[in-house]
Assembly symmetry: C2
Homo-oligomer: 239 residues x 2
């Protein structure tokens, strides 16, 4: 029996309504977090911009671990097959490829060193704990919850153009080539997000599963907000 | 610092010697298990051959879960990148592809039904527990131990020709096309096994890591033997 045979089980709402419920979390999202506002308005110092990239790099290094954990917990071949390309997108298929490397280029372009990145020396404990919590969540919860938590990336797609503009306007000392991946990522983020939504609509067939998907996305929003809170506190706005 | 910088640390033996130590586990391997001997000598009844395939299919379904768990536990991008193609080899890159589907073809060719496979109804508890233990091992231990446990597949490569011959000679009622994947697998098994050996020689840089790799491979041998023991007991030789 495939999941689609039991779509009306146990008080579940129809797929489109369920997805609309999930979209409400985009409003709780971190777009308007004060640290993001400072980043996008060009009000970060060079050191603060470096801190943002270094901490974001740590989060980025965690992403393939959580995606592999989702696959490791998933008994549905079809879902695993659709999720596996995310690992290659992050890690690349050959040395020097993949999104982690693109973040490394950006990090070097803002003046960080390879040693800064490899040592995680600039990573704030609050950021580390939040990112690690995301990996632990994917390892210990159901794959459906892991997939639901990933949905925030769809809401982030719209942020990438804002970010790209902000770099061009406010941080012109950063090599444009190192920033270009923000725009290139946009299509992939949107595609992956649509794929995750399709999977959730198909496999969250009970109200309990739908509610756990809500909770997973709320949790993920907390992870992202906690990271920004920690950055904002460690690197406050100058008077 | 990469692992190769510290190859002589803490009493570790050189890489080639370490690999030779691991190869000693091939002797403990299950080649000559009585159930394998019966399979290869054509002494399994049709029902017993079905039981072997159905139980082996369950094990096969577990393999991408354990490979994803290895990736999820591994902080080395380079290793993750080399391990990810195993997921696609098992699950395929499109519907109907991948090694699990090849085992499904074999299962149908020996007379099992899709329902037999999806329900796991023919899976013996001892087989299930052993296969599940392998997945749990990969989830809970270090990725190096997961990689070491995988090495048995290299020792299995030589078995594939024997198995292919046995089907042709003793079980001619099984469609040859469904058996051909045993031979096609051989190159991939050898390639993957060599890759795993290279990784182990590079990253097992302390004697403690090398000894945990030994223990992991011994554990894996026990998993495979336990599966065959359970099959042999549930489906004994006729008088």
């Amino acid at each position: 029996m495939t999941a689609s045979n039991v779509q009306t089980a146990a008080g579940a709402v129809p797929g489109q309504e369920f997805l609309a419920e999930l979209d409400q979390y985009s409003a709780r999202y971190w777009h308007d977090h004060p640290f993001h506002a400072r980043l996008h308005a060009g009000r970060l110092s060079r050191e603060q911009l470096q801190a943002w990239v270094a901490n974001r790099f740590y989060y980025q290094k965690c992403i393939p671990l959580k995606d592999a954990a989702i696959i490791a917990n998933c008994l549905e071949v079809e879902v695993r097959r659709r999720w596996t390309p995310r690992l290659s997108a992050q890690d690349g298929v050959r040395s020097g490829g993949g999104e982690i490397e693109e973040w490394r280029h950006l990090a070097l372009a803002v003046g960080l060193t390879a040693a800064d990145l490899d040592s995680d020396a600039l990573v704030i404990p609050g950021v580390r704990f939040a990112a690690d919590a995301y990996v632990s969540f994917a390892r210990s919860r159901s794959w459906l919850e892991g997939v639901a938590a990933s949905l925030s990336q769809g809401y982030a797609a719209s942020l990438l153009a804002v970010r790209s503009d902000a770099f061009e306007r406010h941080y012109p000392w950063v090599d444009k080539a190192a920033v270009s991946h923000f725009n290139e990522r946009r299509d992939r983020l949107a595609r992956e997000s649509n794929d995750a939504r399709t999977i959730l609509a198909e496999y969250c067939v009970t109200r309990g599963q739908q509610e756990r998907a809500h909770a997973a996305l709320a949790f993920k929003s907390e992870v992202l907000r906690a990271m920004l809170d920690a950055l904002h506190q460690a690197h406050p706005a100058s008077e």
